[in-house]
Amino acid sequence: MYMRKTLIIAGLLMSTQMGVAQESRFGVPATQADIDKRFWSVFPDGEFLPEGEGNVAEGAELFEYNCNLCHNYPDENDPNKNAIGKLFGGHETMGTDNIDRTIGSYWPHPTTVFNYIRRAMPLIAPMSLTNSEYYSLTAYLLHENGIIGENDVINKDTLPKVQMPNRDGFVNAYPDIPEKYRTKQ
């Protein structure tokens, strides 16, 4: 008897849920414009990188204008340090347990530089430059870190091919942290 009742209730619940599921469709079709407005990611293999091209010299000029104020702002306690973290250098720390997390010493993918600065920089005016200008800034940052030559150009074909010094410096911890780094218990 108990079983039968449970089954009837379960049946009722199931039909109710199915009914709700059928009615619960309130998303409206998203247009390409809807997506383009909100989606800014690019992938390490270059997917979604835009047209346009940049170079180191233009990047240097853009950096001076848009970035230098914060990124060369000295630390209050130590004028040799940057107040908001280093962008360059740190190669000598690679392979040690105290890596300076700069683009050159730590960032594993060149596309992340473009991906991040295009969506978030300059800090007080994000998205205020053109794709080519963001490519130029990316070129400047990679060059200053000793990763590309001063005459290299950066675009959707060349950027994904740039070899980052710390490309192999990461270990995937999803879904599980590798045995080696687990605590004993």
């Binding site: 709700v20 619960s24 469709r25 309130f26 998303g27 409206v28 079709p29 998203a30 809807d34 997506i35 909100r38 989606f39 800014w40 990611s41 690019v42 992938f43 390490p44 914060c70 702002y73 209050e76 107040a83 908001i84 690679m94 392979g95 040690t96 347990d97 105290n98 890596i99 997390r101 683009i103 730590y106 960032w107 594993p108 993918h109 596309t111 992340t112 991906n115 991040y116 969506r119 978030a120 800090l123 994000p126 410096g169 990461f170 270990v171 995937n172 911890a173 999803y174 879904p175 942290i177 780094y181 687990r182 605590t183 004993k184 218990q185």
Partner: protein, 441 residues
């Protein structure tokens, strides 16, 4: 022997009540109703020699009508210093530096709170690009990529769906990071562990919306992006998104506040806070992670061999004692309640053990129910302090048998340069003078 508890009531303690050396007492003592009951206030009535107004001796709030209810309630004016931005020496400097980088941090004052729900106004906030002022009429989230039909949802559309309500903690993976430091830092409890809060979240299961869009069987990740001025972006495994992620629209019964992602946020129960992207506006279904800044240069943990752990997404089992802690000191010898919070990103807390001798001996604390999955669980145990030096520690064990490691066990496995995901013990050293400080054992 007889002791006074802090409510002034007599309490008989005998040898059988001691559950570990150093004064830890049976948790049953605090469950005893006689003890839990506040002694009735002794009311004295002066004998009136003459006819007087009967309210003589009453406070003003009893003698005068009170104010009208506010449109939106406030705390007592005597409680207004219990706030998120007063976390002790050196803290203001950090805030000043942060203003220039627009990384704002507001930490939960756990020393002032009880229970497990953090009031919305005291929920921690860490924003990398400030808090946007979003008009909900102009905001929508799009789901696109490897789906049959890309769809767009505004707040009005989301309100049509059957919602789920869950209590969950949220923790920044940078919480407690000072405990990686080789020497103990004198950060107080709030600054040390304040990037952790607990709330009731209401929203639409992400799986409902993904089903509606028709996710490809080859999909493995979702790239989430927000509408803030950094369009903050994280890659989320599709298995997580389909399991228990939600688009949250309410927190503690009211619409989510701007600092928490108004009008909608992604919420990934048990995952590091940064993945629960606030002001969510794009969910791109794909087969690989985007390798965004916050999953490469930030929130990755440097290991002693020079490698860095990436996608350490789930918060490990963890606990801390909130009282007593270094946000206070012990003013007199006597009976104290040791209380704190325990949590696990995987599920429920099974038990919490407390030590007052730096981990030599442990006693099981009482857990305050209901114990919920991926939520803060409060523990408590009575402690008789008679002036001896002590080191207070807690360790949590979750329903999967995972044991919170000591700091030295964690450091042995991962070194001290990880920056994020600290989940070892917090040790509070108690001096003979009652002063409490952050110590290592």
């Amino acid at each position: 022997m007889y002791m006074h508890n802090n409510k002034g009531k007599n309490l008989q303690i005998d040898a059988t009540d001691h559950v570990a050396p150093g004064g830890l007492l049976s948790r049953r003592l605090f469950l005893n109703s006689a003890l839990a009951t506040t002694a009735a206030l002794a009311t004295t009535r002066a004998a009136y020699g003459q006819e007087d107004m009967v309210g003589e001796g009453q406070e003003d709030w009893t003698l005068y009508p009170g104010s009208d209810a506010l449109e939106y309630g406030e705390r007592s004016r005597f409680e207004v210093d219990r706030v998120r931005r007063t976390a002790g020496p050196g803290y203001q400097n950090e805030e000043f530096a942060s203003l220039r980088t627009i990384v704002h941090r507001a930490r939960t004052p756990h020393q002032d709170l009880m229970g497990t729900i953090t009031p919305s106004g005291l929920h921690f906030e860490l924003t990398h690009h400030g808090i946007p002022d979003i008009d909900p009429e102009q905001h929508a989230v799009v789901i696109h990529g490897m789906v049959k039909q890309p769809l767009k949802y505004n707040i009005e559309a989301l309100e049509n769906y059957p919602t789920i309500t869950r209590e969950h903690f949220l923790e920044c993976s940078g919480n407690s990071l000072a405990l990686w430091s080789e020497k103990p830092q004198e950060w107080n409890l709030q600054r040390m562990h304040g990037l952790l809060s607990g709330s009731q979240w209401t929203g639409v299961p992400l799986s409902t919306l993904l089903d509606e869009c028709g996710v490809s069987p080859d999909a493995k990740w979702i790239i989430a992006e927000g509408a803030d001025s950094g369009s903050l972006s994280r890659s989320i495994p599709i298995d997580k998104a389909l399991k228990d992620s939600m688009i949250a629209i309410y927190q503690n019964g009211e619409r989510i506040r701007p600092g928490q992602g108004y009008p909608m946020r992604l919420f990934n129960p048990g995952y590091e806070g940064n993945t629960s992207v606030k002001w969510i506006r794009s969910l791109h279904v794909t087969d690989r992670p985007a390798m965004s800044r916050f999953e490469t240069s930030t929130y990755t943990d440097k290991m002693p061999d020079g490698k860095a752990l990436q996608f350490t997404l789930e918060i490990d089992v963890k606990s801390m004692i909130t009282r007593p802690s270094n946000a206070m000191s012990l003013k007199k010898h006597g009976l104290y309640e040791i209380t704190g919070l325990a949590w696990s990103g995987k599920g429920k807390i099974d038990r919490v053990e407390v030590s007052v001798d730096g981990g030599k001996t442990w006693a099981e604390a009482a857990l305050e129910g209901p114990i919920q999955s991926i939520m803060l669980t409060r523990f408590r145990i009575p402690w008789l302090w008679q002036g001896e030096p002590a080191i207070l520690q807690s360790r949590a064990i979750d329903e999967f048998g995972r044991v919170q490691p000591s700091r030295s066990e964690l450091v042995e496995a991962r070194g001290t340069k990880g920056t994020y995901h600290y989940h070892g013990y917090q040790s509070w050293g108690v001096g003979t003078n009652g002063k409490i400080s952050n110590v290592y054992t």
